[in-house]
Symmetry: C2
């Protein structure tokens, strides 16, 4: 553990709780609002999030974005615990002396062009920075990343992501992904405790972060995007401990030759064998994904598939024969089972639903499965089968708006449908999963967003494709099976 | 070939060129516009498409949707070549007598509840209908489908799909897919010669349709969604001949046990072994897909990847390290190669592009790859490498709007970028493929649609995910390799 001049160790808990944040390398935005530098964007993000002590640093300006600008760190009157840096690599060492003098706790370098450039002098510069941080008793985040997003402390680095906190921690080597995940998963109800983009992992790295989040009371689910791991044994230990305590989703970037080359150029990551990595995930029961969209699907399932399914048996209900065939193929291909419904269940469905143009075997397809009473009957009847562990309801798998002609966005449709789905879910004690196909046009987007918002507000998991839904639920079923197995052995 | 009372065979060419269309089973839409029956929707679609001779049939109404309504087929003054039917199955036989008396050429049954219901009396009814059609000398489309869309003849069955004709024929056993494909692929520039939804394939079936489209001058590409094939040998012959003459994309629905069960309930399809089907596609060099979205991606590639790539070597350029890693993994996982760029190509790139935060090995990632001059340099330099056969440009793989802050939708950005991409493509003689990530919100949707529209208007192929792009281009590269191989052997 590094120590700051007061002699106390700088923990990640302290890093995530800064009293004051300075942003070094911030320019005034061009007239018209465009052309923000990253520094300007961070200042704006902190102000918008309501962080109380933001200090832009630039000797050229008296103020920026309406708040006072300081010529250097030492000129700031209050404490500066965290510094965001966006100046050229060459100027970084001098700045670190200033950081030491100010007694900061952590420095985040957005600045790139270090080890990942492949140039030896740049790698040497990185090592000199680390020495200065150790001497000065502060921590380094990055370089080559976008740093911290801690919604509960109003520490933000982006202006267009939800600012309310939630139970998901995201540890990511990519700064882009640090922005995409909260933005893309936000409309599906995913909220974050902390998002840490750690780039080249010069000081703070994936091992320390995993350890921290395993014990963090604000975090219930850990998601990690990792390109490379320097300390394989340490990572294995940290992953095992974290996955023992909480669901951990791991997306390893750079699994192919070209992907590895990109990772090397991106964050100077040298990765060990993919096979070793995948075996480690299996051993520790970490949930592996291979795409950010898959990570969002698994997060959606973990957060809102209530209760988590007790097995891999799925039933699909909704309107449309084509989607019924496609969805069945997707669910089984992903490793779930779509068992034929018992004859008495089929007969019970036929008593309540129209027969012409319908399928009752599982999938269940009838045209009136956009009617709340029909949905209610179908979910409760099918959900009562013991070999069905989850119910998939696809609405608007047709592009929304095509058949619905506006009805899907109406409260008169959405309110009763969300109500019957929640009630049926609670009655049968099995999760109901919603598949909603994204739209192609602006009108469709309005309808889609209204429908998604209603389902998410009702606490239901919404997926944007049956393939995504199937992949996530298959992973969840397998993860839960292994977890329950381990628990039953150790208890 | 069936014959109508005049003694001439009723060919598909005649079916696709009706002089008059009657719609039987059409009700007045409810006040407020909602609650259209399929019959009403077809009447409205025909009127909107400008078809000149639409005859709604219903003895209860003097007019419907502002046009005259007739009590029965025989009361229609002009010729009725095609009849769309949406009345209960029980009434269908009597109607066919009327069709024979009127001398129609083809009857399309939207009506479902026949063989696919699994009830023997319904299957017998189907056979009686076929006998009546043979006796009456007319053809049957369906039952249990949405019939014909022939944009060049103004024959439409949907109100929200592009009505201008194009070179793609779509043969589909699912009525839902008949609507989804044109609607979903429309914004990406895909237009259709004919779309035929043929449902239970009582008379007109996939074999005859494949034969027709193989010889249809208006059709350059054939797409087919098939759930089941009754005449395996006939299908093999028709597919081989069609695929010899034109690119054929085949999506076989119902490849899993549950999917097969759904297909049986959907269109009474009993399918042969999946392995046999897949082997047939390989032998005939038909392009196989397993999802409607994959079909759209392959259509996009065939239509707009100009020239088609001479091999499987791909280079990826764009801004963002995370997307660079993800995209490289996706491309190689799909079977394409992403070769390391030659040292001299890398050096040339470094002369023109900023070094800090960049990757030059392939993928090529620099932050200014949203600038038209940088894009121009990157595409031409990388495109000159002999082992690169296609160029992938990802823009807004970050959710559009996040970094762009509105700039991606501006003409000042889109016009120069589309111009340099087209010019670079023509200069290097290799296709440039655009990956554009769909948005999550309404503002993002506006920006996304503006960008997509500009690229599509410039004749460029737009994909909505790097995974979709990779899957399509891998299939295209393999298809072209086999095609060129066959051509060189036979020439």
């Amino acid at each position: 553990m590094d120590r700051n001049p007061t002699g106390k160790p700088v923990s990640l808990e302290e890093v995530f709780n800064p009293r004051g944040v300075a942003v070094v390398g911030v320019s005034a935005p061009a007239a018209g609002g465009g052309g923000f530098s990253f520094g300007g964007l961070v200042v704006l993000s902190l102000i918008k999030a309501g962080f109380p002590a933001v200090y832009p640093i630039n000797p050229k300006y008296p103020e920026i974005l309406g708040i006072r600008c300081y010529p250097n760190l030492l000129a700031v009157p209050g404490p500066v615990d965290h510094v965001v840096v966006n100046i050229p690599a060459e100027s970084c060492l001098a700045l670190l002396d200033e950081c030491a003098a100010k007694g900061v706790r952590s420095v985040h370098f957005f600045t790139a062009g270090f080890g990942e450039s492949g140039e030896e002098d740049r790698a040497a510069l990185e090592r000199a920075m680390l020495d200065k941080a150790r001497d000065g008793g502060f921590r380094i985040i990055g370089p080559n990343c976008i740093g911290l997003f801690v919604p509960g402390r109003r520490v933000a680095n982006s202006i267009d992501i939800p600012l309310d906190p939630g139970p998901v921690a995201f540890v990511t080597q990519s700064g882009g992904h640090a922005q995409i995940l909260p933005k893309s998963s936000g409309p599906r109800g995913i909220r974050f405790s902390k998002v840490v983009s750690y780039g080249n992992a010069l000081d703070v790295n994936e091992c320390e972060l995993l350890e921290y989040f395993a014990g963090d009371d604000e975090t219930e689910i850990i998601a990690a995007y990792v390109e490379g791991v320097r300390d394989g044994e340490g990572f294995a230990r940290a992953l095992a401990e974290a996955a023992r305590r909480k669901p951990v989703i791991v997306y390893k970037g750079g699994k192919t030759e070209a992907g590895l080359r990109a990772a090397l150029g991106h964050t100077a990551s040298m990765t060990s064998s993919v096979a070793v990595f995948e075996a480690l995930c299996r051993q520790t029961n970490a949930i592996q994904v291979d795409h950010l969209d898959e990570m969002i699907d698994v997060l959606t399932a973990l957060r809102f598939a209530h209760p988590l399914p007790a097995g891999a048996g799925a039933a699909m209900i909704g309107a449309g024969g084509g989607p019924a065939v496609l969805g069945s193929d997707e669910l089984e291909r992903a490793g779930l089972s779509v068992p034929r419904l018992l004859r008495e269940v089929q007969e019970e469905l036929k008593r309540h639903l129209p027969i012409a143009g319908s399928i009752f075997t599982n999938p269940v397809d009838t045209l009136n499965l956009i009617d709340s009473r029909a949905i209610d009957v179908a979910l409760r009847t099918v959900g009562s089968s013991p070999d069905i562990h989850m119910l998939v309801y696809h609405l608007g798998f047709h592009p929304v708006g095509s058949w619905g002609m506006g009805r899907f966005s109406a409260r008169t449709f959405l309110d009763p449908v969300t109500a019957v789905i929640r009630a049926a879910r609670d009655a049968v004690g099995k999760p109901v999963l919603i598949a909603l196909r994204p739209p192609e046009d602006l009108e469709g987007m309005k309808e889609f967003l209204a429908a998604q918002e209603a389902f998410v507000a009702a606490g239901l998991p919404v997926f944007h494709s049956l393939r995504g839904l199937a992949g996530a639920m298959s992973r969840i079923a397998e993860w839960k099976r292994r977890k329950d197995h381990t628990t039953s052995i150790s208890s």
